[in-house]
């Protein structure tokens, strides 16, 4: 595709993204504090889902252990608060990304040697090592009580926490998360459309041939693993001030399953799918929990229905419909 054609084909997507962004900017002014904070959680989960999909959608690796990197991001922040008494969100973000990236780099060395179920089980097993540490090293991690994280200072302390915590989360912190969400989305867009991103897709499609065109398969998988872990770590770091508390639950394997759910719900074959899936899941869970004690049953049924009826996920199905509508009718 020529550069000009590439620009033309990306234009409608970017226009739609700009419209959605305007909508997201308006959320705190149009909706209640509760709704805004719910969207804020959705944005945080969307960053994790974007990171996760670099592995699943673009590299063809199904991880069951991304709770490790989300948890690492969150616990890095909580431990910096506990031991260093840091308060700067910028420092938390950098530390969370680096902490999760470092663990992903280490775990990745082992995991990327394998594919398919072996890869999945290894990621799961390694994440559970971190979970057991979060649970059992209670004098450091607080065990099941977890660690509290107060509202941080934003933008190099230019913005200090407001009196009202909910007010802070629904305005200042919401916009802070939105800025990082936009930045993370832009960076991920760049990565998946870069020559490196093309190499990952080649590995996903045909590992042997990728090697025979000169792609260093294992090394590229490892880089993808680290980037994926770092994005998920960023999400963990942003999540913890929003939640105010981190507990071992977010390192436990069901949380990894939740990240898989985001991506499958939205569709892992499209760039926007994980974002749509994370936002949709967040709403679904919030309301299912509010309406019934059997909320897991509701989520389970939705998951099964999505897999059976919309295997392309919400965004994938929508994209397919749009493409079909745009395609001219065949000549008769």
């Amino acid at each position: 595709m020529s550069p000009a054609a590439a620009r033309r084909s990306a234009a409608p997507q970017l226009a739609a993204a700009a419209l959605v962004l305007i909508g997201l900017v308006a959320v705190p002014w149009l909706f209640s504090t509760f709704q805004t904070i719910t969207v804020c959680y959705g944005l945080v989960f969307a960053i994790a889902a974007l990171g996760y999909n670099l592995l699943l959608g673009y590299t063809g690796l199904l991880s069951f252990g991304h709770s490790a990197y989300f948890g690492m991001g969150a616990y890095t922040v909580a431990l910096l608060v506990k031991y260093m008494e840091w308060t700067s969100m910028e420092a938390f973000v950098v530390a969370g990304v680096l902490g999760a990236g470092a663990v992903a780099a280490l775990f990745g060395i082992v995991c990327v040697r394998y594919t398919r179920i072996f890869f999945g089980i290894l990621t799961l097993a390694l994440s559970q090592v971190l979970w057991s540490l979060a649970l059992k090293l209670f004098w450091v991690t607080g065990g099941t009580d977890g660690l509290r994280v107060p509202t941080p200072k934003l933008f190099f302390s230019l913005l200090t926490p407001a009196e009202d915590k909910l007010e802070f989360l629904a305005y200042r912190y919401y916009y802070y998360v939105l800025i990082l969400f936009v930045a993370a989305t832009a960076v991920m867009w760049l990565i998946v459309h870069s020559p490196f991103g093309k190499a990952l897709q080649a590995i996903r499609d045909n590992e042997t041939r990728a090697e025979f065109v000169g792609v260093q398969v294992r090394r590229y998988r490892w880089v993808a693993f680290v980037v994926s872990g770092a994005f998920t770590g960023l999400a963990g770091a942003l999540w913890v001030p929003l939640n105010g508390l981190t507990t071992p639950d977010i390192v436990y394997w069901p949380f990894s399953g939740r990240i898989v759910f985001f991506v499958v719900l939205g569709g892992f074959r499209t760039f926007w799918g994980p974002i749509v899936g994370a936002m949709a899941y967040n709403y679904l869970e919030t309301y299912a929990v509010g309406y019934t004690v059997y909320w897991q049953l509701v989520l389970g049924i939705v998951f099964v229905l999505i897999v059976l009826t919309l295997p392309q996920g919400l965004a994938g199905t929508a994209e397919g419909l749009l493409r079909r509508m745009r395609r001219p009718a065949p000549a008769t």
Binding site: M1, P3, A199, Q201, A202, D205, T208, F212, G214, Y220
Partner: protein, 251 residues
């Protein structure tokens, strides 16, 4: 003068000696056909030379340099590329991206995480030119998995060609396509390869293709080299005709 030479190359799978003490040479600029019945060891020999398998014994020299221990990637950088018997493409990527990715990899640009691939005009131009050479320009935006078998065979060769190899192995470039499609595919492949001065080794079962397009023929049987000569010499070789070719019309 040889471009590639194997010395005592052997590979066994269990009790089967797939490649048995083979001394195989390729001269610069030739279009060589490797023939033999199924199981003769042709593909295994190519797998050993291209680095897919490690030999049990023997050595492989490219321009006099021992490449036996080199990885696949190192061999590609040395100038050895290959296509595959069963088409091996990136099926979910576009036809264009199959070639463009290869150019990116060759130029070591796949290390770049923060640049838009589609904005690289030099790579785009080269990929488009390669697709045009192989007659696939009109298919550029199609998904590779949607091509016909003949087109997939051509794209498989185009991907290997995009590495700008000096020695190109073509593993049955016309297998699985109709008789009518074979000559057009071979015409395109040989014209591109010869115009660029690339040395090529083609594994082929179709004797019409073999005798029409090759400068030299190496016949294999049960893991060993049975005969080596020009098409005329091979035609006159009784051992080859009785073992491999059967009744072949005289030239």
């Amino acid at each position: 003068m040889t471009l590639l030479a194997t010395r005592g190359l052997s590979k066994t799978f269990g009790a089967l000696r797939a490649v048995d003490n083979v001394d195989f040479t390729v001269r610069p600029g030739e279009f060589l056909a490797l023939i033999g019945s199924n199981g003769a060891g042709k593909t295994t020999l190519v797998n050993l030379i291209s680095g897919l398998f490690r030999p049990d014994a023997g050595r492989i020299e490219f321009e006099g340099r021992d490449v036996t221990q080199q990885s696949v990637n190192e061999r590609i950088r040395t100038g050895i590329a290959r296509s595959f018997q069963l088409v091996n493409l990136f099926d979910q990527m576009s036809v264009f991206d199959n070639v463009a990715l290869t150019v990116f990899a060759r130029e070591r640009k796949t290390r770049s995480l923060f640049a838009l691939a589609d904005r690289d005009a030099a790579v785009a131009d080269e990929a488009a030119a390669i697709l045009a050479q192989f007659g696939l320009a009109t298919r550029a935006r199609m998904v590779a998995g949607g091509l016909s078998q003949g087109e997939r065979k051509l794209l498989d060769v185009a991907v290997a060609y995009a590495l700008r190899p000096r020695l190109l192995f073509l593993d049955e470039p016309t297998s699985g396509v109709s008789t009518r499609e074979k000559a057009p595919i071979m015409d395109v492949v040989t014209s591109v390869v010869r115009s660029q001065g690339i040395t090529a080794v083609v594994i082929e079962h179709d004797m019409d293709v073999v005798f029409t397009y090759s400068d030299r023929i190496v016949a294999m049987h049960q893991g060993a080299i049975l005969a080596d000569g020009t098409p005329d010499e091979i035609r006159r070789n009784d051992q080859v005709t009785s073992t491999l070719i059967g009744t072949v019309a005289p030239a």
